[in-house]
């Protein structure tokens, strides 16, 4: 029992250990200006946490991320289902969604800056724009794949439109929408850092910028490492939620 557990997880932990070892060796054998070893990065992270700077900037970024991300879900999911249900609307709106989905959002940041300035709102807009399109796209695709027979069942039993959404559209579509949500997590993190770089400098973005300007490579790595780990954790959480909603799909 213990043996199989070890055997199953051994490749994973060996790979992580090897990655850290390579990082450590590479860091020690190059100039500190380009690359710092894993140990130095962790020490630097610990000092940043101890000084209170890191926690403050982290919470700042978290607020921005959550606001933009939750807005993206609150708009993306209902809009996606509405587009799947109302054909005329979908045909009218879909080209714009495709164009905006394909647009590199970073390119729009100067435009958002000139429109809205340096406040909190324009940064939320950037995170929102990064995150919302995969949510809409996957929700529409999911909601459109619903079997017509299930809609017929609802109609045959004289379901109201509201009950059709509550009992059929939403439970059917949620697992598909969650696929988009997981993509949105990664994009929202990019949006968060981009907004903090190019609009008013705050949060982890500011931490990275300042460290980079001071040639503090360890400081840059420390922040990047934390962002990456949070990204992975959020996507795993997203997958768990997706599986929870999809447990009826064999």
């Amino acid at each position: 029992m213990l043996n199989t557990t070890i055997r199953r997880h051994a490749p994973f932990w060996l790979s992580i250990a090897a990655g850290i070892a390579i990082w450590e060796i590479a860091g020690r054998s190059t100039s500190q200006a380009f690359m710092v070893p894993f140990s130095t990065t962790i020490v630097q992270l610990w000092e940043l946490v101890q000084s209170g700077v890191f926690i403050r900037q982290f919470l700042d970024s978290a607020e921005l991320f959550m606001t933009g991300f939750v807005l993206a879900l609150a708009v993306g999911m209902p809009l996606g289902m509405l587009l799947a249900r109302v054909r005329v609307l979908r045909i009218g709106v879909e080209p714009y969604i495709m164009i905006l989905y394909a647009t590199p959002m970073v390119a729009l940041i100067p435009f958002i800056l000139s429109m809205m300035g340096f406040g909190f709102a324009p940064k939320v807009l950037v995170v929102f724009l990064f995150a919302v399109f995969p949510v809409i796209y996957n929700t529409v695709e999911g909601a459109r794949s619903i079997k017509p027979e299930l809609i017929e069942v609802a109609q045959s039993f004289r379901s109201t439109e509201w009950a059709l959404w509550r009992d059929v559209m939403v439970p059917y579509t949620l697992p598909y929408a969650m696929t988009g949500v997981r993509q949105a997590i990664g994009r929202a993190l990019v949006g968060m850092i981009a907004a903090e770089f190019f609009l008013s400098s705050t949060g982890l973005g500011q931490l990275i910028m300042t460290a980079s300007q001071n040639f503090d490579t360890a400081g840059v790595f420390a922040s990047v490492l934390v962002i990456a780990l949070i990204g992975v954790a959020l996507m795993r959480a997203g997958l768990a939620i997706e599986r929870h909603f999809a447990r009826w799909r064999q």
């Binding site: 045959s156 039993f157 059929v168 009826w248």
Partner: protein, 271 residues
């Protein structure tokens, strides 16, 4: 005694529950059927057979109000059907169960949509689950059950709203042959207990003759009623019905009516 009374009243003699008059339907330029006229009595099973693509399922969806018709009219009681109406329930070919709902939740669905009070739902759901023989599977999800069990659930959902009209859209076509036979006799048993007007669409001649008090044969393109065959087999229908000499005669009769068309249709190229 009760069964004999039911049996005596069963068939075409009662007051019509469904009246279909001069019904016609197009899909764009394609005319599906025309001039469909028939009645279904309060306690009567009318089976509709016909070659694939003859529009029997379309006809059933028109009666349920799921599809609009172009000409003629459908009356259920005194109500003209233009949309799904109360008192009519349908059993679907692919069961139409909501895969994220348990058996209980699926059976409760129709009652909830009809606005039944919670206490009534709590009382009726176990009753109908038991009626279709699914007791013990209340909390199972559709994917955990065989096709036969899933259709029992679909049947319980339709019966739970206590409809006066049951519309059956090839309900046993998606289950294996043995299960199909079991379900046919289960349906007959349930119908004896709770007779309704029933329209049963099938492509199985045997099934049509076993269940139907009358068999309507749809033929042609566009299709229309080619013949209505009265099935004068003794009531109640049971396993012995299959052994009845009259059964073989009637099955042969429906078969020859249908197959004359099928042979022609086989050699017509699809456009």
């Amino acid at each position: 005694m009760t069964q004999q009374q039911t049996a005596a009243k069963a068939g075409h003699d009662g007051e019509p529950r469904i009246r279909v008059r001069g019904l016609g339907k197009h899909y764009g330029a394609l005319e599906v059927f025309r001039n469909i006229d028939f009645d279904v009595s309060k306690r009567e099973i009318v089976a509709i057979v016909g070659p694939s693509g003859c529009g029997k399922t379309t006809l059933l969806r028109c009666i349920d109000g799921l599809l609009p018709h172009d000409t003629g009219e459908i009356l259920v009681g005194d109500t003209r059907v233009t949309e799904p109406i109360a008192g009519v329930a349908m059993v679907f070919q692919h069961f139409g169960l909501f895969p994220w709902k348990t058996v209980s939740e699926n059976v409760a669905y129709g009652l909830r949509m009809a606005g039944a009070p919670k206490a009534e739902i709590a009382r009726k759901v176990p009753e109908f689950i038991k009626l279709v023989g699914l007791a013990g599977f209340e909390n199972a999800f559709p994917y955990q059950m065989s096709g036969g069990m899933q259709q029992r659930c679909g049947l319980a959902r339709a019966l739970a709203v206590e409809p006066t009209v049951l519309l059956m859209d090839e309900p046993f076509a998606a289950v294996d042959a043995q299960t199909r036979e079991i379900l046919q006799f289960e349906l007959l048993r349930i119908w004896q207990e709770r007779p309704t007007a029933m329209v049963f669409v099938t492509h199985s001649i045997e099934e049509a003759v076993l269940l139907g008090h009358r068999v309507i044969v749809l033929k042609g393109r566009p299709s229309s009623i080619h013949e209505t065959i009265t099935i004068d087999l003794p009531e109640p229908r049971t396993r012995e019905t299959l052994q009845h000499p009259r059964f073989a005669v009637l099955r042969e009769r429906v078969w020859s009516t249908l197959m004359a068309e099928a042979r022609e249709a086989e050699f017509v190229l699809e456009r």
